[in-house]
């Protein structure tokens, strides 16, 4: 299976040869030829200005049985410590638009224990129906119990589309749900839409964010996607919006988990998780020593943010590995990401390029971090950061 070349359209220009990340395209008798090394990534399709390249179609062309009986959009409502996670509101707001476009109801699913009242805001953000499963075995998150229950509900009620946040919880148990339902799943979407055929168009970054791919799930139901936090706007429709609350009992054996939760810890303060913070102040090798990170911690505390670090800073012992942003660390997408004394290696950039505003502070104007920032400050960080802290303190 490989990319298809329409020889009538191919001009033999060779553009596709240069873009193929696995080197699977060669020129033979003036036409592009694709070798068996092709991984069907699709990069060449977009590169061809003559429209000569296409990808073969997935599946066997058979629609799932009872395909017509799947209806409606579902959003999995994630909660922590008695509050709904923002990503669920963001998703409900987006899903509301999609549901209106398709003229179908929007439902939200809430799983947990003693969740009284949490459903109210799900209605306010657009849900028409909220399904609640309240059970002691759901007090702590485990992939097995949560996955089993959500898959069971989806089998019973047959939503056409099922969405969840691409948080550590969503990215962990939603694949289980997809496997139990035997359907497709697209991870980490940054955009969703409905096409002319009524299918969900799922757009996500790939290759470390260097390319974007739009994906369909034509032959699986529900069409499933996880969506990154903070890329969609949460929009509260009303102070009190009514809807249908449905408490569902599910078979007891679904709650069984072979895994036992022994302990859960939440980090707080400037060393709190960089994934959840609206503002991340990250330091690199340019900080010089561990003590200098205190400056970043002070700034982070003032703006209720968290402190991140580059791999270099972690390896130099300036920061904890849990603070590392980048390919082998965490992927963050805060409202503000401030890179202080970080050169900006690609491995770092892939972990933060989804941030809404990126500020780079570095004394080297040639540092690659300036290629990805929105605001560049060429300055000595030891002079700049204290000045900046002064202003923030004054403004508070």
């Amino acid at each position: 299976m490989k990319a298809l070349i329409d020889e009538n359209l191919c001009t033999g220009c060779g553009t596709c040869i240069d873009v193929c990340p696995v080197g699977a395209i060669t020129l033979s008798e003036g036409k592009a030829k694709v070798s068996d090394e092709c991984t069907l990534c699709g990069i060449c399709v977009d590169s061809c200005e003559f429209g000569a390249i296409s990808l073969p179609k997935v599946g066997t062309g058979e629609l799932p049985r009872d395909y017509e009986t799947y209806r409606g959009i579902w959003v999995y409502a994630e909660w922590r410590h008695g509050t709904i996670h923002r990503v669920s509101y963001e998703l409900l707001s987006k899903a509301r638009q999609l549901a209106d476009k398709k003229h179908v109801p929007l439902a939200s699913v809430l799983l947990g224990y003693r969740l009284n009242g949490l459903e109210r805001d799900l209605f306010n953000y657009g849900a028409d129906i909220v399904y609640v499963v309240d059970h002691p075995s759901l007090a702590y998150f485990t992939d097995e119990a949560y996955g089993n229950v959500l898959a069971y509900l989806a089998k019973e009620y047959r939503p056409e589309i099922l969405l969840a946040g691409a948080t550590s919880i969503g990215r962990s148990f939603i694949p289980r749900v997809a496997a139990l339902l035997k359907t497709g799943l697209t991870a980490d979407c940054t955009d969703l839409d409905i096409n002319e055929e009524g299918l969900l168009v799922q757009t996500r970054p790939a290759f470390g964010g260097n390319i974007m791919a739009s994906i369909l799930c034509p032959y699986g139901r529900p069409q499933m996607a996880t969506v990154r936090p903070r890329v969609m706007e949460a929009c509260r429709l009303a102070e009190t919006r009514s809807g249908v609350l449905e408490r569902v009992s599910v078979p007891e054996e679904l709650f069984k988990s072979r895994i036992e939760v022994l302990e859960e810890t939440v980090c707080e303060g400037p060393s709190a998780s960089i994934v959840e913070a609206d503002v991340v102040i990250s330091g690199g090798r340019g900080l010089g020593r561990k003590e200098n990170f205190r400056m970043l911690e002070e700034l982070a505390r003032l703006v209720n943010g968290a402190v991140g670090a580059s791999r270099g800073a972690v390896e130099s012992g300036f920061a904890d590995p849990s603070q590392q942003v980048g390919q082998t660390g965490r992927t963050v997408a805060p409202v503000l990401y401030m890179a202080v004394g970080i050169s900006g290696a690609i491995q770092h950039v892939v972990g933060m390029q989804g941030s809404r505003i990126i500020v780079a502070v570095n004394k080297d104007p040639q540092a690659p971090i300036f290629n990805v920032c929105h605001y560049g400050v060429v300055a000595d960080l030891f002079e700049f950061i204290p000045e900046f802290i002064k202003l923030v303190k004054g403004g508070c």
Partner: protein, 265 residues
């Protein structure tokens, strides 16, 4: 104890870049490597083997084109005992479902498996889905984002996993599947003896007939998700350098960020 480590050959992402003038993707060289997170998965398995060398057997498995054998040889050179390459024209174009389905069939064929270790995610697709999907298809308990593995009993693990807001400690009975972070340990280098052995090792290649799978159930035919369009992301073109003295720079940045509604300012 039999540990299976799932690995993937990936292109070196730093070689995939956007040409700033044409805004198209350019490739520099076609170097490929073992997915970095899979190196940590292998290291986690090797550390378990270090505790009981004679009774722990590690099999590395990958699905890919014939040249994916290179990552298996690399794993053998670092101390894995056995390797299997799943390679067949019919496997091409597999999404995470079809990949998990094929891997699950192969792992069933391997017979008794106590622990499966995968990297957190592959750096080309970044989906992090194959581990959980594979565990589900094999009906195994699993834990993702694992930073630490300890043994409570010979058949019970205590694992520490990273959550978005901190950590969780779980008790996991074997057999199970884990996806791991870099925190499990720095990957070891190739050893001379293992490299010699790896060079002579005949990697078995399994295709659809070996796994008794139909053509329709694997690869692109067995997949659900269809890529319909690939494009370059919109890059921020409006980069602004903030000039002036340090105090002017700080003041200008502060005003700009405040105007854009950054929380906390």
């Amino acid at each position: 104890m039999h540990i299976v480590v799932c690995v993937k050959q990936v292109p070196e992402t730093q070689n995939v870049k956007i040409d700033p003038t044409t805004n198209t993707l350019v490739r520099q060289g076609v170097a490929s490597m073992m997915n970095p997170f899979d190196r940590f998965a292998l290291e986690a398995a090797l550390r378990i083997k270090d505790m009981d060398r004679d009774n722990v057997n590690i099999t590395v498995i990958t699905m890919g084109p014939p040249q994916a054998k290179e990552v298996l040889i690399d794993a053998l050179s670092r101390g894995a005992d056995d390797a299997v390459l799943l390679s067949d024209q019919a496997f091409a174009g597999a999404d995470t479902w079809a990949t998990s389905y094929t891997l699950a069939s192969a792992i069933r064929k391997l017979g008794s498996v106590d622990l499966i270790i995968c990297g957190k995610q592959a750096i080309d697709g970044d989906t992090a889905q194959v581990g959980p999907e594979l565990a589900t298809l094999l009906d195994l308990p699993y834990a993702t984002y694992v930073s630490r593995i300890e043994f409570l009993e010979p058949r019970v693990l205590k694992i520490t996993r990273q959550t978005d807001e901190g950590t969780a400690v779980w008790k996991v009975p074997l057999p199970a599947l884990l996806t791991v972070l870099k925190d499990v340990g720095i990957p070891r280098v190739r050893s001379y003896r293992a490299t010699l052995r790896a060079r002579r090792y005949e990697v078995p290649i399994w295709g659809i007939s070996d796994l008794r799978l139909s053509k329709e159930s694997v690869g692109l035919k067995g997949s659900f998700t269809q890529v319909i369009k690939v494009f370059s992301p919109q890059r921020a073109k409006d980069r602004t350098f903030i000039e002036g003295s340090v105090s002017e720079q700080a003041a200008r940045l502060y005003e700009l960020l405040k105007k854009q509604g950054v929380p906390g300012l």
